[in-house]
């Protein structure tokens, strides 16, 4: 049960605020509750029920309704708000889930734990709809287990009106790290409270890979961050959405779908400024979520029917239209609202995609060294 507070390499629930630790503590308590309930109540038998273990708000209700009508079955969903929470729940013995939707590095963990069933491609006739750029990730090179579902990019959200008035560019990590820009933004900048994400931004700015583990490169990134830190207002994993929307913060390091929410909210509230977001030209972190089959799921047949259903362009587009997430499905593009489809920060062109990298897990020594640097960053 101690695994229920397993740690996280990164936290990135798509489509809504990033879970801060309070949500996570509550989440862990819920895990305990659910598990203890599971001891009492026998699991539902393998009736026509598909059990989905998914991120919060990560599928449109109308999509679900249509699938239920088509398969004459019921879809039951449980939710998590970060990968580690999901892994911890499974490690603590949660069973009976047909489909999980983990991010790349969590897929890798699940494969190594031998917790996934291989896919039967003959049951996925629409697999070809997927953009090849999002196939063959490091965690599953031949896509034997993973069907890409949706993605977010870690990028810069900003108050475009303010940045333009100050004559600042929009498309470089330099905004976060260069004193010449930051002097005009002092106290108006937030960055993610995540060692991996912030170091990734600094590493890309310095021209290294986000998965670079050379300590000398890390040290350069650390120094860059320490030099920029006096200009930042705070480390923030979720409040930046609100702060951008009300105009307290002019530049935020965060996730593309959160920035989409902030931009929408600012527009709906009729603010005198616009919130926009773009991927820095130096490159950024891509978090690709995948549908996978958990070994404990009693209905792999139904699960793969669902996967294929979600590979249909129209069904897949509904999620993007709902939360502004990136979509690896080429067939979805005609159904996506033009305002989102034309946004380079949600749908980068081929060149932009090449600049994106997925985070890989660090080993324990690297985690410890990184954490020590993080402490240094926080203390200085």
């Amino acid at each position: 049960m101690m695994a229920a507070i397993q740690a996280m390499a990164r936290r990135r629930p798509p489509g809504r605020h990033v879970a801060g630790w309070p949500q996570r503590v509550v989440g862990c308590l819920l895990v305990l509750l659910v598990l203890s309930a599971g001891l009492v109540a026998p699991p539902a038998n393998a009736a026509n029920v598909l059990r989905l273990f998914n991120w919060n708000n990560y599928i449109s209700q109308s999509t679900l309704d249509r699938f239920e009508a088509q398969c004459h079955c019921k879809v039951e969903q449980d939710y998590y708000s970060d990968n580690e929470e999901m892994l911890a729940k499974l490690a603590a013995g949660a069973t009976g889930y047909d489909i999980l939707v983990p991010t790349g590095n969590a897929v890798e963990t699940l494969i190594r734990q031998d917790a996934l069933r291989p896919l039967d491609r003959s049951r996925l006739p629409h697999f070809g709809n997927l953009n090849p750029a999002f196939l063959g990730g490091f965690y599953d090179p031949a896509n034997r287990y993973a069907v890409p579902y949706a993605y977010t990019i870690t990028l810069l959200g900003y108050n475009r009106t303010r940045l333009d008035a100050l004559g600042l560019p929009h498309d470089t990590w330099g905004l976060l790290f260069e004193p010449k820009y930051l002097e005009k933004l002092k106290g108006r900048v937030t960055v993610l409270d995540s060692p991996r994400e912030l170091m990734a931004a600094a590493l890309r700015y310095l021209g290294y890979s986000v998965n670079d583990t050379d300590e000398a490169h890390w040290a350069r990134a650390r120094d860059l961050i320490i030099r920029a830190k006096p200009y930042w207002a705070s480390f923030s994993n979720s409040s930046y959405i609100k702060e951008l929307t009300v105009g307290n913060i002019w530049l935020a390091h965060g996730y593309s779908n959160d920035m989409y929410v902030a931009a929408q909210d600012a527009e709906k509230a009729g603010r005198a400024f616009t919130v926009a977001f773009s991927t820095p030209k130096e490159g950024a972190v891509l978090a690709l979520d995948n549908m996978v089959l958990h070994r404990s799921g009693p209905r792999p047949d139904l699960a793969q029917a669902f996967m294929d259903f979600m590979l249909d362009g129209q069904n897949s587009a509904e999620l993007t239209n709902l939360i502004g997430s990136g979509n690896p499905n080429q067939a979805a593009m005609p159904y996506i609202r033009p305002a989102i489809a034309s946004n380079k920060a949600v749908f980068p062109d081929a060149e932009g995609v090449r600049q994106l990298e997925m985070l890989r897990d660090l080993d324990r020594r690297q985690r410890r060294v990184l954490n020590r640097m993080w402490v240094e960053i926080k203390l200085r």
């Binding site: 630790w21 106290g187 060692p195 203390l379």
Partner: protein, 300 residues
């Protein structure tokens, strides 16, 4: 064969369950933590096994590595010192604010006291996180408080300050959340003082100040000590308040420990830090007890 006296049986029946509870939920986890601090982290978080083979790339067995890493430089010691300083400042602020309040309640007519104590406890009725979020709003840059202060500062030609996301906000939050823990023991102590002592002091010509300083204050020291313990120790381990109210430099030992479990997947190092914290707290408590002892002995 010895025969158990009924009184002994009753004592065991009554004290057994709480003792068992403490053994199970306090002692056992503490021992697990001590053991964990000598182990290696597991590949996917958690702990690597002590005996037998781990996963590829995992070290197994016991190690002093976690302690060595802590003492390899002064960085972690610096966080400890900083946290101790914040805890000290918060405790002193609590004493300064709680003392007059507790005295006021204790000297009020009896019929008002219960209501006033109730008012002190009232904030506990809402979750403290919600109250901290409320503080975030109060201290926010566009609120009346910040704009008034910055207006005054601007009049004197000073640069505006940020109230939220600062060490100041962290201390305000700490004091706000822990103030009742100082007021209640102080009040309980002050309420028991015999008023005739003060009358006697006055009859003997003591001024109001000297009545307070030489009678009330020394008598209230046990209340101050227990209140300080109730404030100092939780503040030392607090991570929520620096997380929410702190700026870019406000990391405390509580945040560091939390990070080891929730961010870095390094349980052994987190356990080690937690044990170090316990040792520091116990050492301080021992020191305080020793000082108190010597003062009492010297006084007699």
């Amino acid at each position: 064969m010895s025969k158990l006296a009924p009184a002994t049986i009753t004592r065991w029946v009554v004290s057994g369950p709480p003792t068992l509870f403490m053994l199970l939920f306090f002692l056992a986890p503490s021992l697990i933590m001590v053991l964990a601090s000598f182990r290696y982290p597991g590949a996917f978080g958690g702990l690597a096994p002590v005996f037998g083979g781990g996963r590829p790339g995992e070290d197994t067995g016991l190690t002093l590595e976690n302690y060595q890493f802590f003492f390899s430089d002064l960085l972690y010691t610096e966080i400890f010192l900083k946290s101790l300083l914040i805890a000290l400042i918060s405790t002193l602020a609590c004493i300064l604010m709680a003392y007059p309040l507790a005295l006021l309640i204790a000297r009020s007519p009896k019929r008002h006291r219960d209501l006033m104590v109730l008012l002190v406890i009232l904030p506990f009725a809402s979750n403290f996180l919600i109250r901290v979020y409320a503080l975030m709003i109060l201290l926010g840059p566009q609120q009346a408080l910040a704009s008034t202060i910055n207006g005054v500062l601007a009049a004197f030609g000073c640069a505006p300050v940020s109230l939220l996301f600062s060490t100041f906000a962290v201390v305000v939050g700490m004091v706000y959340v822990h103030l009742p823990f100082m007021v209640l023991p102080l009040y309980t102590n002050l309420e028991k003082h015999d008023p005739t002592l003060l009358d006697a002091a006055q009859d003997l010509g003591a001024s109001a100040w000297s009545r307070f300083w030489r009678v009330t204050f020394p008598l209230s020291l046990p209340g101050i000590f227990s209140g300080s313990a109730l404030v100092f120790i939780p503040v030392l381990g607090m991570f929520a308040i620096p997380d929410l109210l702190g700026g870019t430099r406000d990391i405390l030992i509580g945040n560091l420990i939390k990070d080891q479990f929730l961010g870095t997947r390094d349980w052994p190092f987190g356990s080690m830090l937690s044990i170090m914290l316990t040792v520091v707290v116990l050492a301080l408590a021992g020191l305080a007890a020793r000082l108190g002892q010597r003062k009492r002995d010297g006084g007699n």
